[in-house]
């Protein structure tokens, strides 16, 4: 082979290698719009999205419902007119297909909320529960489990005992203290607008997607950093492999991960890495956020609207 052809060949190899390296590196997203802040220094304990362009609702630990009208770039705050049961936090926000809104008031009470913050029915629960989501016209419960392995999620209509197992996620028996195992078996669920709802354990880099009929599939997600259980349990602000997941109607899976914070902003809540996967779980892109993201409020195939660490609503695009 003549020398100049050999050099050209080596050059092509280098370019290809660089291109393949670059595909795996987080590239920054750009902010296409922002408004707010709409929340301050308060914990967000629940989110309910509406189909189409309806408002996104957030429940805060400060006991307020925040209705976010993204197209109008406006948010309205309604204090919740109910006392927390036993001084515990209200957790989870479920909007059912009929429009009703529900939360967990403490661990043993289901509470109906109206969008103006007023309270409706209160229904006692026999077992302690730690999270709540809406699934069609049923409520999806994460029961506090001290005896794994067991079904991680159960489902039922308001007023029914939530005894029906949903999906194939099972709590894990881990070689740790009982309370630590219960904490690591807490399940988070994201938004699923393509017929499957994503749920995950806090220490894993995998999600389980489940249909409303309870058929599950597990996806291992590349490009996310696994975090040791000890780090999760003992850190003040632990890095989380998966902070939020949103499956947009076209099937694109958006994952918000802690990633690596900027120096000086390590205490900020939220994640710095936004990853995009195909419906089959293939990593399409990872990108660094210009501002930390706490929750994904809306997404399409090209980008996301996020609640930022500073409490603003930001729209990020590739």
């Amino acid at each position: 082979m003549p020398t100049h052809r050999r050099h050209l060949f080596v050059l092509c190899l280098c370019v290809a290698a660089l291109a393949s390296c670059r595909a795996g590196q987080p590239r920054p997203y750009r902010i296409a719009g922002r408004f707010g802040p709409i929340v301050g220094n308060e914990l967000v304990t629940g989110r309910a999205v509406s189909p189409h362009d309806g408002p996104v609702l957030l429940l805060t630990g400060g006991r307020a419902l925040i209705s976010i009208d993204i197209p109008a770039r406006r948010a309205t705050r309604h204090p919740i007119d109910a006392e927390p049961a036993g001084g515990e936090t209200m957790w989870g926000l479920a909007r059912l297909a009929g429009g009703s809104l529900w939360t967990l008031n403490g661990r043993h009470q289901l509470l109906e909320l109206r969008e103006d913050g007023s309270a409706g029915r209160a229904i006692p629960l026999r077992d302690p529960h730690v999270a709540l989501y809406g699934e069609g016209n049923r409520l999806l419960y994460d029961r506090l489990d001290f005896e794994p392995p067991a079904a991680a999620l159960t489902i039922g209509r308001p007023g029914e005992e939530p005894g029906t197992v949903w999906g194939t996620m099972r709590t894990r028996a881990l070689p740790l203290a009982r309370a630590s195992v219960a904490a690591l078996n807490l399940v988070s669920c994201g938004v699923g607008l393509a017929g499957e709802r994503p749920c995950w354990f806090p220490d894993e880099t995998a999600i389980t997607l489940t249909t409303s009929g309870g058929v599950s599939r597990r996806l291992e997600l590349a490009g996310l950093q696994r975090v040791a259980a000890e780090v999760l349990l003992t850190s003040d602000n632990p890095p989380r492999p998966i902070r939020d997941v949103y499956v947009e109607p076209g099937g694109t899976i958006w994952v918000l991960s802690s990633g690596t914070a900027d120096p000086g902003r390590r205490d900020w809540p939220g994640g710095w890495l936004l990853a995009q996967y195909s419906a089959g779980g293939r990593l399409v892109r990872t990108g660094r956020l210009p501002d930390s993201g706490r929750l994904i409020l809306r997404a399409d195939a090209a980008g996301c609207v996020l609640l930022s660490g500073r409490g603003e609503v930001i729209e990020v695009r590739s």
């Binding site: 707010g36 802040p37 301050g40 220094n41 308060e42 914990l43 967000v44 304990t45 989110r47 630990g61 515990e88 936090t89 957790w91 661990r107 302690p128 730690v130 999270a131 506090l144 001290f146 009982r178 309370a179 219960a182 904490a183 690591l184 807490l186 399940v187 988070s188 806090p202 999760l232 349990l233 003992t234 850190s235 003040d236 602000n237 632990p238 989380r240 902070r243 939020d244 205490d267 900020w268 809540p269 939220g270 706490r294 929750l295 609640l307 660490g309 500073r310 409490g311 603003e312």
Partner: protein, 68 residues
């Protein structure tokens, strides 16, 4: 003008009160709670008190592990 001032104030407030975690020490609290429970005389109340400690621990860890 008022609107600009209001938005400016909100932005400054957001920057000043940049959210940060304030719920550290779940494990320490659990340990303290176990110590208190161990001092309960009745066996069954001691057991129940220990269980409450674990429930409180999970509630504390929930903020860090699944809160936003």
């Amino acid at each position: 003008m008022k609107k600009i001032v209001l938005v400016g104030c909100l932005s400054v407030m957001a920057l000043v009160s940049a959210p940060r975690t304030s719920l550290a020490g779940c494990t320490t609290r659990l340990a303290d709670c176990y110590v208190r429970s161990a001092k309960v005389d009745s066996f069954w109340y001691r057991w129940a008190s220990g269980l409450d400690c674990e429930l409180d621990y999970v509630e504390c860890a929930r903020v860090k592990l699944i809160g936003a």
